[in-house]
């Protein structure tokens, strides 16, 4: 786990190759995170994967969290792992909500980490985050004709209409 000064070192090194790719760093509860510019997140991930001194070659998990009411609202998390040094680092790209009619977009990292295929589909399914360049961005767990993004914080629990309404009607 890189500590807070270690994170700053990484940030400095990234800055020379990809200026502006890292917007900020955070070291909280012994977990290191780089907050990335969403437009350059692929460059940053590739750099972390391919730079010999970094070697974060394994993507443990890709998930999205909704930080409502904060803005930008959606955080795409990449949990990277260096298996030689046994170190984890989190890359976090924050996406703003483009409003009612549009969906937030970010580049797909399937080309870098094939494991992200299903996880990006899951993130799309539940948050409506569009991963540009994903080979098959369809719903994965919910039905194809489902409307809405249920894991968003403004989607109410119980917002799903009850399919089997017979007993409800019979009992009132």
């Amino acid at each position: 786990m890189p500590d807070a000064p270690g994170l700053e070192l990484i940030r400095g090194e990234v800055e020379s190759d990809h200026p502006g790719a890292v917007l900020a760093t955070s070291f909280d509860r012994e977990q290191a995170a780089l907050i990335a510019d969403p437009a350059q997140v692929l460059d940053l991930l590739r750099w972390l994967r391919d730079t010999p001194a970094q070697g974060y070659s394994f993507l443990s998990s890709l998930h999205v969290a909704d930080y409502l009411p904060a803005e930008p609202r959606f955080g795409v998390h990449y949990e990277l792992l260096n298996r030689e040094r046994v170190e984890r680092i989190r890359v976090k790209a924050m996406l703003a909500d483009p409003g009612e009619d549009a969906l937030p977009e970010i580049d797909s990292c399937v080309g870098l980490f094939p494991t992200a295929h299903a996880q990006e589909r899951e993130a799309f399914d539940f948050f409506g985050v569009v991963f540009r360049g994903h080979p098959e961005l369809t719903r994965i767990l919910l039905p194809d004709d489902y409307v809405g993004w249920p894991q968003r914080r403004d989607f109410p629990v119980g917002g799903e209409p009850v399919t089997f309404t017979y007993s409800e009607m019979a009992r009132g």
């Binding site: 909280d28 509860r29 012994e30 977990q31 070659s57 394994f58 993507l59 443990s60 998990s61 998930h63 969290a65 909704d66 930080y67 998390h77 949990e79 298996r83 046994v86 984890r88 989190r90 980490f113 094939p114 494991t115 992200a116 295929h117 299903a118 996880q119 899951e122 539940f126 719903r139 994965i140 767990l141 919910l142 039905p143 249920p150 894991q151 914080r153 989607f155 629990v157 799903e160």
Partner: protein
């Protein structure tokens, strides 16, 4: 591929018979899919040319429901994701919350958790072995495996009151100490289990049908598995000694003496061998936990997060207040986020918890190993026979409750 085609009975027939591709739907309700998994398979004769798993049939929105529950009420929810390895789900979640609030758990709780996790690992592997051997025609294996599984469930029932979905782990430790007589019963199990594993191996290892069905079937290279994010016994069977229990420092694993079994070629036989060896290693860990079980409290003392003992409720006003606060509202967690990964029987089980300062988590996400591992299924199944695909699916060991959550 060409030689595989030459093996088929159709090979000598007219060309259109062998090259005709038929799309067949297997599942979602099919006993060989080990749950509610649908496979859309393109078949050329008996050979799988393309295979697409379709999931989501048991999606229940557990992650969303967790956002509506206070932290301690989430525990029984997450257990029901991967319903064969419930202790692991609890550990991933409770561990993540403990890291969020910075709560250290007492040594005895660490050992008890380790003990139950490893019992659960044996239990999970027994379910895998029984059902997969059943798929391959070894029907008696199911009964032998479930006989030992029942002894583990008896132990769970003895300590927790429940056979499955025990809700035994709490934020801060475990809910109750192990009862009198548990240790003895558990020791007996630790003595017996390696013998039983030897008996299973005697049934399967020289069984020609079993060997032919598993050896050289469904092999995927180590590099490809790593690309696909596959972890756990599948990765170790391909020769990669990667185990979070050794890599990261959590619970009592650093004090335990155990080996990581690895395979060589990563075919279905290696996957079988690795899991068999893991059962023996887990038994050793259980034995060591019993040997070295430290005395002391089994749950942290911090009254802000941990329920006071029942005896205090009638004597201490303060305890009563804490109890009331914890049961009604739950505890609040300062904003922050934590990802905590542990080694489940199927690989890396990660839990991501986002706290927003309230008494309910703002997001609970599980990186379920079955969900990620299932992506390797296409590589395992394509260009093998349908029957081998079923074998590979069994050896992949997905739990669909965990896949769909």
């Amino acid at each position: 591929m060409a030689d595989l085609l030459a093996d088929t009975p159709d090979a000598g027939l007219s060309e259109d018979r062998t090259t005709e591709v038929m799309t067949v739907n297997i599942g979602p309700h099919h006993p060989a899919t080990h749950g509610v998994l649908r496979l859309v398979v393109d078949l050329e004769g008996e050979i799988v040319r393309e295979c697409k798993p379709v999931i989501g049939y048991v999606h229940t929105g557990i992650e969303k429901s967790c956002e509506d529950k206070s932290y301690w009420k989430v525990i029984p929810f997450v257990e029901r994701m991967d319903y064969v390895s419930y202790f692991f789900q609890m550990e991933a979640y409770c561990g993540a919350v403990e890291r969020l609030i910075g709560l250290e758990i007492p040594p005895r709780a660490k050992y008890l958790r380790t003990l139950f996790l490893e019992l659960n690992r044996i239990h999970s592997h027994l379910v895998w072995l029984g059902t997969t051997a059943l798929d391959l025609g070894a029907i008696s294996m199911l009964w032998y495996c479930f006989r030992e599984r029942d002894r583990i469930l008896d132990l769970f029932e003895m300590a927790t009151g429940q056979r499955m979905h025990t809700r035994y782990f709490q934020v801060g430790g475990v809910i109750e100490d192990i009862p009198l007589g548990f240790e003895e019963k558990c020791r007996k199990f630790v003595e017996d289990m390696p013998v039983r594993v030897g008996q299973y191996e005697a049934l399967l290892d020289r069984n020609e049908v079993f060997l032919q069905r598993t050896k050289g079937v469904g092999a995927v290279s180590r590099e490809r598995l790593l690309e696909l994010g596959v972890t756990g016994p599948l990765l170790r069977a391909a020769g990669e000694p990667w185990d979070l229990r050794k890599a990261f420092d959590y619970l009592a694993y650093p004090e335990m003496d155990f080996k990581i079994p690895v395979g060589t070629v990563g075919d279905n036989y290696d996957r079988y061998r690795v899991r068999m060896a893991e059962m023996v290693e887990s038994t050793r860990i259980v034995g060591q936990c019993l040997e070295a079980l430290p005395e002391g409290p089994f749950i942290a003392e911090d009254r802000k997060y941990v329920l006071p003992p029942r005896s205090e409720l009638s004597t201490s006003m303060e305890s009563l207040i804490h109890h009331f606060k914890l049961v009604t509202e739950g505890f609040r967690v300062e904003p922050g986020e934590v990802y905590y990964g542990i080694e489940s029987p199927r690989g890396e089980l990660g839990c991501f918890v986002l706290a927003d300062g309230s008494a309910k988590p703002a997001r609970v996400h599980f990186r379920d190993p079955s969900f990620v591992n299932l992506q390797a299924f296409r590589d395992m199944a394509v260009d093998t026979y349908v029957a081998d695909m079923i074998c590979s699916l069994g050896m992949l060991d997905p739990i669909l409750g965990g896949v769909d959550r």
